[in-house]
């Protein structure tokens, strides 16, 4: 795997990704047999031709426990890079390993809505690309998280120059 630079990561996340109006309905997660979560994965292409996948997981036993992930799929290989992950408030802490190793303050936080973001420093130091996370107040449940995720990943309807809320746009 190659190392994605911070600039590259930011550019990939913000690359416009135009989808059809009915694309949003494909995001509805389905029960995964024999497991306590729902899941969904939907492919998407950016304006510059880059390939992405939106991955959704929702815990059926705890509605606050969910993940919405943007993955970058490198062409002509089977390599995938998690760029952004909007996590719910799962009942456990999170530790930013690089910050802990470098003795920085506040490397750990208690259960909270949080966002994992790919960073160059985590890759360069042998950690998972999306090992860094920070607490967020930008959403408070799955639906607000999904709306915010679509906004920040620049996923837009083809017939709508401005970002349309999922709920206004005929989503689920």
């Amino acid at each position: 795997m190659r190392i994605l630079t911070d600039e590259e990561i930011t550019a990939l996340i913000s690359e416009p990704k135009i989808v059809t109006a009915n694309w949003f309905s494909r995001l509805e997660a389905k029960d995964k047999a024999h497991f306590q979560h729902k899941e969904k994965e939907v492919d998407i292409e950016g304006d510059n031709g880059n390939l992405y996948r939106v991955i959704i997981r929702q815990n059926k036993l705890n509605v606050l426990d969910f993940s919405i992930i943007l993955t970058f799929r490198e062409k002509d290989s089977n390599l995938e890079y998690n760029l952004l992950r909007f996590n719910g408030k799962h009942p456990s802490a999170h530790t930013n390993k690089w910050e802990k190793e470098n003795k920085l303050q506040e490397y750990r936080f208690s259960p909270a809505f949080h966002i994992h973001k790919a960073t160059q420093r985590y890759q360069e130091n042998g950690y998972r690309i999306d090992g860094y996370a920070e607490v967020t107040a930008r959403y408070s449940d799955f639906h607000t998280a999904l709306n915010q995720f679509l906004l920040e990943c620049n996923i837009k309807r083809e017939d709508d120059g401005a970002q349309t809320s999922l709920f206004e746009g005929g989503g689920f």
Binding site: H37, R57, N78, P91
Partner: protein
């Protein structure tokens, strides 16, 4: 620092890493220092149910491991998981991992439960890039998902011309004018075997179409691949990145050749 002071500090530091916080009725978060690869800590909840205490992950562990697009419900991975759960006395209730705590032995039960969860998180290391042996399982699972049981035969051989099964086909898809012979290819040896099989089927005079899915086509010797390209009708360079294309191709060919 004398031994007693050292021991005291040692115990304090270790104990500080484990704590409880109540969240709901008879439901307590067990904070612990053990983590997934991404820095999220393992989810452990202490719950009181019908005069008993138990630990539960409320289905989080499998959900977290599934972020990496790993199929946990079949093949090698399932066997490993079943063994781990059995070894550590953990029950799998449709994806929720629980262990009952006998006689309030919270410590023993917690250590055992955490060990089991850690072993399960290690399944991530069996990702498609790290363990080649799961490729054929993934291949079969994919075909099972895309082709109905009455249209497919795994591990097919032509009984009339090859009763000993020397030229095996990973999956034969039926119901069309010409059957589709599908092969999963992990390495040069398998690629050579498939060349021979396709040539033998030609020799038998049996009409067929062929399709191959490589684990990683780039790893195949160029000369072998060149010969292979002469005999195979359709190739996909990997399974992981071509699922949509393979699915579309299968649908089209099955419909067109009814």
């Amino acid at each position: 620092m004398n031994f007693e002071s050292l021991e005291k500090e040692f115990k304090n530091k270790i104990c500080d890493e484990i704590s409880l916080a109540q969240e709901g009725l008879n439901r307590f978060i067990v904070f612990n220092p053990f983590m997934f690869d991404d820095g999220d800590h393992l989810v452990v909840l202490l719950k009181g149910k019908e005069d008993k205490w138990l630990f539960s992950d409320e289905g989080h562990t499998f959900m977290h491991v599934s972020y990496d697009d790993i199929d946990l419900d079949r093949g090698t991975r399932k066997k490993i998981i079943d063994t781990v759960l059995s070894n550590y006395g953990i029950k799998n209730l449709e994806g929720e991992l629980i262990t009952e705590i006998p006689d309030n032995q919270f410590g023993d039960a917690l250590y055992s439960y955490l060990q089991g969860l850690i072993k399960i998180t290690d399944i991530s290391y069996l990702s498609r890039e790290r363990v080649k042996s799961t490729f054929m399982e993934d291949f079969e699972a994919f075909i099972e998902e895309k082709v109905s049981p009455n249209r497919r035969i795994f591990n097919y051989n032509d009984n009339e011309h090859d009763p000993d099964g020397k030229n095996m086909v990973d999956c034969r898809i039926n119901g069309m004018t010409h059957p589709l012979l599908v092969f999963g290819i992990q390495n040069d040896d398998k690629c050579r075997d498939v060349i021979i099989t396709c040539l033998q089927f030609e020799k038998y005079g049996l009409p067929f179409r062929s399709m191959a899915i490589f684990e990683d086509q780039e790893s195949i010797n160029r000369k072998v691949l060149a010969r292979f390209s002469d005999v195979c009708d359709k190739q996909f360079s990997t399974l992981a990145t071509n699922k949509d294309r393979i699915s579309k191709y299968l649908s089209e060919i099955i419909e067109e050749n009814k």
